[in-house]
Amino acid sequence: MSKKRCVAMLLAGGQGTRLGKLTTRLAKPAVPFGGKYRIIDFTLSNCSNSGIDTVGVLTQYQPYILNSYIGIGSSWDLDRKNGGVSVLPPYLGQKGGEWYRGTANAIYQNMYYIKQYDPEYVLVISGDHIYKMDYSEMLDYHEERGADATIAVLEVPWHEASRFGIMNTDDEDRIVEFQEKPAEPKTNLASMGIYIFNWKALEKYLTEDEQNPESSNDFGKDIIPAMIEDQKNVFAYSFDGYWKDVGTLQSLWEANMDLLDDDPSLVLNDPAWKIYSVNPNQPPQYIAPQAKVTRSLVNEGCVVYGDVYRSVLFYGVHVGLGSTIKNSIIMPNVKIGANVTIENAIVESGTVVEDGMTLGSNDGSISLIADGEIVSVPK
């Protein structure tokens, strides 16, 4: 393997418990988003568009769909002779093996993968977030500041700050303190879970952390605080674009609805920064004479006879005559019969909705229709 300036390690083992039945059979990064994508498409496309062509994807929870989706990475131009995408599941070696115990342990167990590229830097990202970011600019910043570690931060509304990992910085954007979900935050700079490390420094901290039986082996809780404690050069890199952790049904629903604005802050169609995904080979969508489709995103393979308002339709969705879909997310290959009403709902892939049914409500809740069951949560 020839040397790489930067290797990306993409954490994709998350279960996404708060997404309920959506993640029964798939990991959170594989959850469908935005009419044609899976959540992980955003980080994989960011890597590809940022010129980072060596990406290790760490999987653990329900890996099959994710593995087959990623394949050899050709959808993201990550099928490379030197580098490319590699799926890295937990493994058994001669001295035994174990599940990934935490984010830091997951990287620790795959240090052999990083070493073969002898990189200057390691980018650690997570496949759980929706955003577009040029990692090469963050890398330049990291180099210019002579940092040991750089953490991307986002200004969040003050009243939400206590839900995040908050960075306290000095005048020069040096991080002097890290607080995980503080009751009384001192700043509103939230960690986006995007880290760049000097590889040599990371290697040292991962190895030390592994030897500490008290550690939870987590980047936010253990590695970063240890580096700050040692007065390493840890810098904050400000990001001011769209970023969303779609970890709950509410935030998943909201992030999809955000796309339906006239000029959404997350642009999916920028030719200079395409979001790549695996193509399902479907014909264009057919909108029938009786249909009415407004303020919606509709993907290929859809056939619409009913009314669709403020909704996101993934590929292969059929909407029957006299049906109304409102404020909803309809995942791939859902077949909706005639005279159906669906409102404020998320309908899981492959669901068949019989004629005349009413799903969801306008009482301020979001309903998840998955596995033949309906679960409602407040918006």
Binding site: G35, K274, S277, N279, P284, A288, K292, N299, E300
Partner: protein, 368 residues
Amino acid sequence: MKKVVGVINLVDEKNNLSELTNHRSFASVPFAGRYRLIDFSLSNMTNAGINTVAVFTREKYRSLFDHLGSGREWDLDRHRGGLFFQPPADHERKSEGDISSFYENLSYFKRSLSDYVLVTNGQLVWNVDFDQVIEEHEAQNADITVVYKPCDDPYTSGKNYNVLYTNDDERVDRLNLDVEALPGDNVYLNTFLMKSSLLISLVEDSVGSGKYDTINEAIAGSLDRYHVHAYHFGGYVTFIDSIESYYRYSMEMLDPNVTQELFYNKGPIYTKVKHESPAKYLESSNVSNSLVANGCKISGTVENSILFRGIRVGKGAVIRNSIIMQKCEIGEGAIIENVILDKDVSVSPGETVRSEDEPRVVAKSTVI
């Protein structure tokens, strides 16, 4: 299982789609919102497990080359076999019939070590199961099997078809080339299957004797010598031979029964992927009876029309009975009626582009 190699023969294509074929081959004319005509025959080959396909072409192959690339979208980026793009070895031979293209590529057939050669063209919109053609060929003990479809079609201009006549056993006893096709005639779809060894000797004999200029002439002249079986294709197929028929067949894609047969009942139709976002319908959009591809952003009215990828339709704009190709921009309040806009056409706000009877083609990258 017998090994089959494919040929998409574009050599004798008629480039009669006016502006649409000025700069591109017939096979790379856009169709049905996101495809090029060649996608159908090529995908049919992929779906029949044929993983060695040569494309014979003579001219205007730039857009075709760009579209096919390495053949990856059709699973034709193979170590063994794969896609072979065969422009002429010698541009001086342009005026000759397609037999010379087969002759130039004899080594392709010899080296492939295949049992059969399946030849088709790049202008048919169809979803055919080539496995069935091969099965019937073997069951009939035929030397050559030619594929036909009875012409019951009102859109053809009636010229330039190859018509075949069979006896009771579906054995071809006459093949008339370049004649007018009347309703009920069996139109030969320029698609045939034969043993590779037979094709090689047929081509060598034709060139050696100078008797035949095209492969179809060679088949038509061999009906006495060989058992030529006719395979009746019963499915949907287009006979596009003019702008008018292109337009009418395009509009048939608005019939869900037709698209069901073409895209869903059998194997998928593959095409070059553009990674466009889903189509976006804004508050003021009003779309009915239309086919819309991804990447479109619609604020206006669209009726009985086909929108290819990445089209912008401004507020108050009206598109009726039209075919709008990739990346066109339709300004606010513009009116588009009964026209075909080729790629990258830009219509300024408030302008009207309309034609009364015959659909009018607006050439690529025109600004109105």
